[in-house]
């Protein structure tokens, strides 16, 4: 069930209405728990069992870890939790990928191996709820979070539908205390929550899906058909698409949670206004980058073990961060490139973590350009497609195959995005909106809703095909 679907609109209207009607906190929590499982089941009912299993197992192990005073036992329990979670993730998300990679490697040394073709359906959101769950057991092990929450509260933390399938990856230490304390959403929270949902839907449905995606999909499906300008438009367009798609979805999640009185942290903070790559990763998918920092980079040793080890840790973290996005070597390549940029930046800064100085506009643009080019392997389904895109950018060719409106619209939207992010880079969205007066704000909401309606539904080929 996607946030930008009619089914979700009906689902949310019912859940929100009943939530407000209930007065007792436990009843409200149970409602949200049941609703969250219904939300998940709406995609594929049998897979609810995986979510329930993962939740119960982590809750139970964390409880044992919390109660145990024996360090060896605690460590063993943590390892069991890690192994179970990562095995689930590995089987469903990386099983076929590992088999195919093994077959390729064996073929390289002349051994023929035909891996069995498993038709494994990836449980939606497994990467998100596994990481949320893992953070809990690790935090309990580190004694940073209590491990004696009720199963129902813990299950709500893992499955709370606003963050369940696409994040943000909310930590137990942030959400569980909110679940325990009775709360009722204030009028301001509901108002701002809905505002975020409207903005998020606008970003996702209008900008990502209608302005950028059509251009990107065309060019990446066959780069050889397009000239330099079209390829450049698509490469820039993907920067817009991925940002508005994911940031829009995150804003919806944050807004929906707020409507129920729960506060989630920001997941994106004007990333295309970043000055350098470490700054970029403080602004892009913050819940993942901070997760990787706290549970991977720092445990690996962070920057404490000397220069070479720091680079190794950066690279390992980013490679695994790339792999987290999907079972493809292209994601690993994308992660590796970001690891390299972070290492180079660190070298240039002489090991300091202080913000980069210099011509700020130039630095921002340079970061944006490199980040944009680094998206190429992320979007390309194969090295051949990535090479085709890079070739298209590398030597000037004229064919203009994109539509007369698509190209300027895409480029203008991207230019506006960079300018907007540059202007707001040191502020929050809430601050920016607070300055807008009521009538212009209502007009903005109205315009967003109209744009969402206009871009909704419809077969894009409809007007072509209904003429046969």
């Amino acid at each position: 069930m996607l946030f930008n679907s009619l089914t979700f609109l009906v689902f949310f209207a019912i859940v929100f209405g009943v939530y407000l009607a209930l007065r007792e906190w436990t009843a409200r929590k149970r409602l949200l728990l049941v609703a969250s499982y219904v939300f998940y089941a709406a995609w594929n009912p049998p897979y609810v069992a995986i979510l329930a299993f993962s939740t119960t197992m982590d809750w139970w192990i964390a409880r044992l870890v919390w109660r145990s005073q024996n360090e060896s036992r605690r460590r063993a329990l943590l390892i069991v939790s890690l192994a179970c979670n990562l095995s689930l993730l590995g089987f469903f998300k990386y099983g076929n990928f590992l088999l195919q990679t093994t077959a390729t490697l064996l073929a390289a040394i002349g051994v023929h191996y035909a891996p069995p073709a498993f038709d494994i359906v990836l449980p939606i959101g497994i990467s998100f709820y596994t990481f949320a769950s893992l953070s809990y057991t690790i935090d309990v092990y580190r004694r940073e979070v209590k491990g004696d929450w009720s199963l129902a509260d813990y299950a709500l933390f893992v499955s709370f539908f606003p963050h369940l399938v696409a994040g943000p990856i909310v930590r137990a230490r942030l959400l569980l205390p909110q679940i325990v304390v009775p709360r009722s959403p204030t009028r301001d929270q509901i108002g701002w929550g809905f505002m975020l949902v409207v903005i998020g839907l606008f970003m996702k449905s209008v900008l990502a899906d209608r302005v950028f995606a059509p251009v990107v999909d065309q060019v990446y499906s066959d780069p050889s058909r397009f000239g330099t300008l079209d390829t450049l438009t698509a490469v820039l367009g993907f920067s817009g698409q991925i940002y508005y798609d994911f940031a829009g979805y995150s804003l919806c999640a944050i807004g929906l949670a707020l409507c129920f009185g729960f506060e989630f942290p920001d997941n994106f903070r004007f990333p295309y206004a970043a000055r350098g790559f470490s700054d970029f990763w403080r602004r892009w998918h913050i819940s993942l980058s901070s997760w990787l920092r706290d549970y991977l980079y720092i445990p690996l040793g962070g920057s404490k073990g000397g220069e070479l080890k720091t680079y190794r840790n950066l690279m390992l973290t980013m490679l695994l961060g790339g792999l987290w996005h999907g079972a493809s070597w292209m994601y690993v390549l994308w992660g590796g490139l970001h690891g390299a940029w972070l290492a180079i930046e660190r070298k240039l800064r002489g090991g300091s973590s202080a913000p980069l100085q210099g011509a700020l506009v130039g630095l921002t643009l340079l970061t944006f350009v490199v980040v944009t080019l680094t998206w190429i392997p992320f979007r390309a389904e194969s090295t051949a497609t990535a090479a085709g895109i890079i070739a298209g950018l590398s030597h000037w060719t004229l064919p203009l195959a994109l539509g007369p409106v698509e190209r300027p619209l895409c480029l203008a939207a991207m230019a506006a995005t960079v300018l907007w992010q540059f202007r707001l880079r040191d502020r929050s969205l809430e601050d920016a909106f607070r300055e807008v007066k009521t009538i212009p704000l209502a007009a903005t909401v109205g315009a967003c809703l109209i744009a969402i309606f206009l871009s909704s539904g419809g077969d894009q080929r409809a007007f072509i095909y209904f003429q046969f």
Partner: protein, 349 residues
């Protein structure tokens, strides 16, 4: 503030709907991959009672399902898709052990010649085969119901359009795109050519068949455009028949797979007219395409060129029938294929 924005948006939608209504646009049932999949499931579940229609827009518009039902005693299942190839769907039906009914295929030589070309039918059939084994009562099903409800009640979604297209081409345009094709719940499409702009629509169809730009005519006079198109048609040469012939064995294997389960397959070349027919005859001449195909298949194959009753109908755009003559055409088709005699035990020979 939110309420104000919501009211602005609702007012906008209301004005747009009123404007569309004033311009004679009616809501239509959306024809989506979900509706196609539901019909594809029927093709399997109806067993021998299924009369499965496969093909392109001609099969969509020319065949009246009620007439077909009455005359054959079978239950029609509309699997045609605009602008698509019959090959992936026929292949899917051949692979599906549950399909044991009667299959009527609208035959187009070019889709066999362009065997591997991507087209929507390939995507639909692959999606069906991937999804048919999965759970059905889910958000996708509910979304289909809700989107279907919205589509069949709001004129902004008429003909499967996104409201933005409706706004630009039907609300704001001085000459709104006419609604001359309406999709029915059973996926058949009714073409009302009295609403279409003629002969422009005919010229566009002829130009699209040849993949030429009509603007190259450099004239707006109908006679001038027709002359330009006729000259282009005269330049056409027959396409190489070898790629076509290479795949005839594969089509026959599909036919054999369905027939081995007790099913029947019929191929029909639906009528074309005017320059559209001339294009077909010049590029895919009968002797090089239809005749070798008809000779190679054990299925019953009928071309409109051999049946005068199928040629007796006007084709306003050179390719499709007006909805008013569909019942009569369907009766002629049933007779031409021999589907009306003994529907449950039709002998091919």
């Amino acid at each position: 503030m939110l309420l104000g924005g919501l009211l602005v948006a609702l007012a906008f939608v209301a004005v747009m709907e009123l404007r569309l209504a004033a311009r004679g646009i009616r809501p239509t049932t959306p024809d989506t991959i979900a509706t196609w999949m539901r019909q594809r499931e029927r093709a399997a579940s109806l067993g021998k009672n299924a009369l499965i229609l496969v093909g392109d827009s001609r099969m969509h518009t020319n065949v009246d399902l009620d007439t077909l039902r009455t005359l054959t005693g079978l239950e029609p299942v509309q699997l045609a898709m605009d602008g698509s190839s019959f090959v992936p769907v026929l292949a899917g039906l051949a692979r599906d052990p549950k399909v044991t009914g009667t299959v009527v295929v609208s035959f187009l030589p070019y889709v066999v010649a362009e065997w591997d070309k991507d087209n929507i039918a390939k995507d639909y059939e692959a999606h069906y085969e991937h999804e048919s084994a999965r759970w059905h009562v889910n958000a996708v099903a509910s979304e289909e119901v809700l989107a279907g409800w919205m589509g069949s009640h709001l004129r902004s979604y008429a003909d499967g359009a996104a409201p933005l297209n409706s706004l630009l081409r039907r609300v704001l345009a001085a000459h709104p795109t006419p609604q001359y094709v309406v999709t029915q719940r059973d996926r058949s499409k009714l073409a009302d050519f009295s609403l279409a702009t003629m002969p422009e629509l005919y010229f566009e169809r002829v130009a699209r068949e040849m993949r030429v730009d009509i603007n190259e005519a450099h004239t707006t006079s109908p006679a001038g455009i027709e002359q330009f198109l006729a000259a282009k048609v005269a330049e056409l040469q027959p396409v190489d028949a070898e790629p076509f012939k290479r795949h005839l064995g594969e089509i026959e294997a599909m036919v054999a797979a369905i027939e081995q389960r007790g099913g029947k397959v019929y191929f029909v070349e639906l009528p074309t007219g005017g320059l559209v027919r001339t294009i077909g005859e010049r590029t895919y001449p009968r002797a090089a395409f239809w005749d070798p195909f008809a000779g190679s298949t054990t299925a019953h194959a009928v071309t409109f060129r051999d049946v005068s009753a199928l040629q007796a109908f006007a084709l306003p755009d050179g390719s499709h029938l007006d909805y008013r003559v569909r019942p009569q055409f369907t009766a002629a088709l049933v007779q031409a294929l021999g589907l009306d005699a003994q529907p449950k035990s039709i002998a091919r020979d």
